[in-house]
């Protein structure tokens, strides 16, 4: 709270409870305690009271203890100076306000004053109140909706719970103009967000504004007018309570659970349009207890620390200060902010491009002859760069093509291209940049008639003639990326914007920036050592066929399939916290050389269903890590040579161990610990932690030539690091020998260091 808001909310709460009490006394006197009180078509009595207090109200007399409880929640407003804390007190007052408001509406129902009369108003999809007494005007019109009935609630509730409907917005007051009102509601509608309307400013409600503009309201349009005063906002919280009771498996009276359910599961927020009075502040304080933040289009104090709500509690976005030339643009920004503050995840299911899209097209090749244009490759330069930027610097969904399109490029020609994706998200981390960036390859490849190869500044993209004829243009790269990043990485990415750059000057500038970033990332990866982190990650993706296998992935030891490194796992865990990559707290280091960690042992014990008791992360001889079967290479000890051989999956030949890869695979895989045999990812060979307990890379005496060739540069560096630049030449391969005798002869001739190292056993 801020003291200003606390003061006004507490005043409002005191006042509304007093008003409710007076109204209740009047009703008790005029109608008697047994007069019925009920919202129509609901089995939840007065749902806020029923949910929070577990107290079913069916007659006026039942409201007496409710008001008593509300009074017990009240507090005096804070002083101007030397005040005592007010946050908890204000939130209590907010709850009192909600109880009082619902009591008032209940009594109004008893008097026939609810739902509110609104001459000339007709709802689409039929009014909630179909009983004849409400049908005073022709066709059931003439009334606002009032509370939502149970049938509608259940239908919407399912959509709220299954995510088709991201949340609901309770709009209180009136927009700055009719155009603004329409624009705001349309923005919300566009995102499938349910809209509830209530309240007024100087007698004008957003309901009036929409009515004047001919916007259809009713169940069918997802825009529901509750009433022209703020008290009617209670119906929105009635929806929230009933959602928790119906879908959360909660019982009436489980107040805290109901509030928490709404905080974590129901993505609702309050949009306060126009000046804010005591009661609006008080009701907002009530909404905050539900975890629903408040966004105002006027100047009010902001409450930005988080906790009761998930993100900011109260945000002020004065209408005149919102950027944008038109009311529509301003409305879009306001709604965007609401979504951000509430953390609403917007779902995008379709990729809006003129060619078919799907994973079936991922392997597609565009031949030179079929090619309309290419970016990258031999004749031009293409790069892709994804970076994280502060929240306020991203306009979600903005796609800019900066520079000319490929219309003027001759058929089969090439042009420079830069794809810059900027993402923001509360859970986004700089470490995830490369992980997300690599996805660009898969995302773009999914478009039919588009081929993507490479990454970073060696990206190479081709667009086929067929795709170009169907209207595929540069902008569509942005559309694809925007949609897919939201769909696949919504857990860490809240906002995405894309720049497609062909302008030569800008291209050069961004390429420079991108290269600096690649460089930074390389250095970061180099710095990322096992010692520098407290957490390793597991990968149990392969337990489907190797039930006791569990990969332990550390910064310096990637998964044995080569597909998952430590950063990938970290991101994967953020995206899918119940998925196959779980954090492993290293715990206490029992042996830094062999790589024993208490946390790793505990985890592996559980994950292997008790089959593996401990793992030495850096050793092949003692409790080596198990393997599933999808390793890129097999490392195996050759006792006669006092070293190990590395056999690549691509190598069909015989090895000095007397077995081919496929025979060896049977020994290495299956989730069993076999000292002396290990399946690894090929880049583990370059890690300083490669069987470091047993002597490291110098132990390698034989290696498939495929590895020697494809990883020549990396391995050369490893040899230099190990202090033996010619080491690679001293390592035999299948072209030199495939038996132990030949191997020993070769090693002796080359003076391979393994021969003079301490015995490996």
């Amino acid at each position: 709270m801020s003291r200003y808001i606390a003061t006004r909310a507490i005043r409002g709460a005191n006042a509304i409870v007093a008003e409710a009490e007076a109204l209740l006394q009047k009703a008790l006197a005029e109608k008697g305690p047994d007069a019925p009180v009920a919202f129509t078509n609901t089995a939840y009595y007065l749902p806020v009271i029923y949910g929070l207090l577990g107290h079913p109200v069916s007659k006026i007399g039942d409201l007496v203890p409710v008001i008593e409880h509300a009074k017990s929640l009240l507090h005096p407003p804070p002083d101007e100076k030397w005040w005592v804390p007010y946050l908890g007190e204000t939130l209590d007052c907010g709850m009192a306000t909600l109880l009082a408001c619902e009591a008032i509406e209940g009594i109004r129902f008893a008097y026939g004053e609810q739902p509110e009369r609104y001459p000339g108003f007709r709802m689409t999809g039929g009014a909630a109140f179909t009983s004849p007494e409400f049908e005073k005007e022709e066709g059931g019109g003439g009334y606002l909706n009032g509370p939502i009935d149970d049938i509608q609630l259940r239908s919407w509730g399912i959509q709220l719970v299954d995510g088709r409907m991201p949340g609901f917005a309770a709009i209180v007051g009136a927009a700055h103009s009719n155009a603004a009102a329409v624009a705001i509601v349309r923005e919300l509608q566009r995102r499938n967000i349910l809209v509830f309307l209530c309240g007024n400013v100087n007698g004008r409600s957003i309901i009036d504004q929409l009515h004047e503009e001919g916007v259809e309201m009713g169940y069918d349009t997802y825009i529901v007018p509750f009433g022209r005063d703020t008290i009617a906002a209670i119906y929105a919280l009635g929806v929230a309570n009933r959602a928790a009771l119906a879908f959360g498996g909660l019982k009436p009276g489980q107040a805290r659970e109901i509030l928490l359910y709404n905080k974590y599961r129901v993505f609702a927020f309050v949009l306060a349009l126009g000046e804010v009075d005591d009661l609006k502040y008080a009701a907002a304080a009530g909404a905050i207890s539900y975890g629903f933040p408040v966004i105002a289009d006027t100047v009010i104090p902001q409450i930005l620390p988080t906790g009761v709500t998930r993100y900011e509690h109260v945000v002020s976005m004065p209408w005149n200060e919102i950027e944008g030339a038109t009311e529509e643009e301003k409305a879009a920004r306001l709604v965007q902010k609401c979504i951000e503050v509430r953390g609403v995840k917007v779902k995008i299911t379709e990729v809006p491009i003129p060619v078919p899209y799907g994973s079936a097209f991922e392997g597609e090749v565009v031949r030179k002859a079929d090619m309309r244009v290419e970016f990258g490759g031999r004749h031009s330069r293409a790069f892709e760069y994804l970076r994280m930027v502060p929240m306020e610097e991203v306009e979600d969904g903005k796609i800019e093509v900066i520079g000319p399109g490929f219309e003027d490029v001759p058929v089969g020609g090439a042009m420079d291209l830069g794809i810059v994706v900027e993402v923001a998200g509360r859970k986004m981390q700089e470490d995830f940049e490369p992980v997300l960036e690599r996805q660009i390859h898969y995302f773009i490849n999914g478009a039919s008639g588009v081929q993507h190869i490479g990454q970073r500044d060696i990206a190479w993209i081709r667009i086929s003639k067929a795709a170009a004829e169907k209207g595929f243009n540069l902008r569509h790269f942005g559309d694809i990326l925007y949609a897919r990043f939201h769909a696949d990485f919504g857990a860490i990415v809240d906002k995405v914007q894309v720049k497609i750059i062909t302008d030569p000057a800008l291209h050069a500038e961004w390429l420079q920036k991108a290269r600096e970033a690649y460089d930074r990332r390389n250095r970061r990866l180099a710095d990322l050592t096992d010692e520098a982190v407290d957490t390793f990650y597991s990968c149990i993706l392969c337990q489907s066929f190797a039930p006791t296998h569990c990969c332990v992935i550390s910064p310096q030891r990637l998964g044995l399939c080569g597909a998952y490194n430590w950063l990938d796992c970290k991101a994967s865990y953020e995206i899918n916290p119940t998925g196959p990559n779980q954090p492993i707290q290293k715990g206490q280091c029992l042996d830094p050389v062999k790589g024993y960690f208490t946390g790793v042992n505990e985890y592996v014990r559980v994950a292997s269903q008790g089959k593996v008791d401990q793992v030495a992360v850096y050793s092949i001889m003692e409790n080596p890590m198990t393997a599933c079967g999808c390793f890129e290479c097999i490392v195996m000890v050759i006792p006669e040579a006092n070293g190990v051989m590395v056999v690549s999956r691509e190598d069909p030949s015989m090895t000095p161990a007397g077995m081919t890869f496929s025979t060896l695979a049977g020994m290495a895989g299956g989730g069993l610990q076999t000292p002396g045999v290990m399946g690894v990812g090929k880049y583990y060979l370059t890690s300083p932690k490669f069987i470091s307990a047993d002597g490291g890379f110098k132990r390698v005496v034989w290696m498939s030539s495929f590895l020697k060739q494809t990883m020549a540069e990396e391995l050369k560096k490893v040899c230099e690091r190990e202090g033996d630049p010619d080491l690679l030449d001293k390592i035999a391969d299948e072209t030199i020998c495939t038996d132990v005798e030949g191997l020993l002869a070769y090693l002796t001739e080359k003076e391979h260091p393994a021969l003079t190292m301490p015995p490996i056993f």
Partner: protein, 111 residues
Amino acid sequence: MEKVVLDVPLLWADHHVLKVRQALTQLDGVEDVYASSAWKQVLVKYDPAKVDRARIEQVLAQAGYPVGQGQTPILVEPTEKRRDPRWGAMDFRMSQTYRADIEMSGDFRKW
């Protein structure tokens, strides 16, 4: 045409606004009304030939919103030392994190 800003302490919520406006706009000679529950004030533009301030105030008073009089009802008055008596009466003591808090938030779930 003249205008006047009146303090109406009982105008503290927007359902009062509807009533105040209803009372004033029916008054002959009143040309424009801005009833602000946020600031508990009413701005009235009127034709002095037809109506005067006294009459406006009278109408407001009749509607239950006397100018400058009354105040927002406060049920819980501050006490001497501001020790809030109600807090102590709350049936609520916790020195551990409530389980539902952890369970409901998927982020922190540990199976």
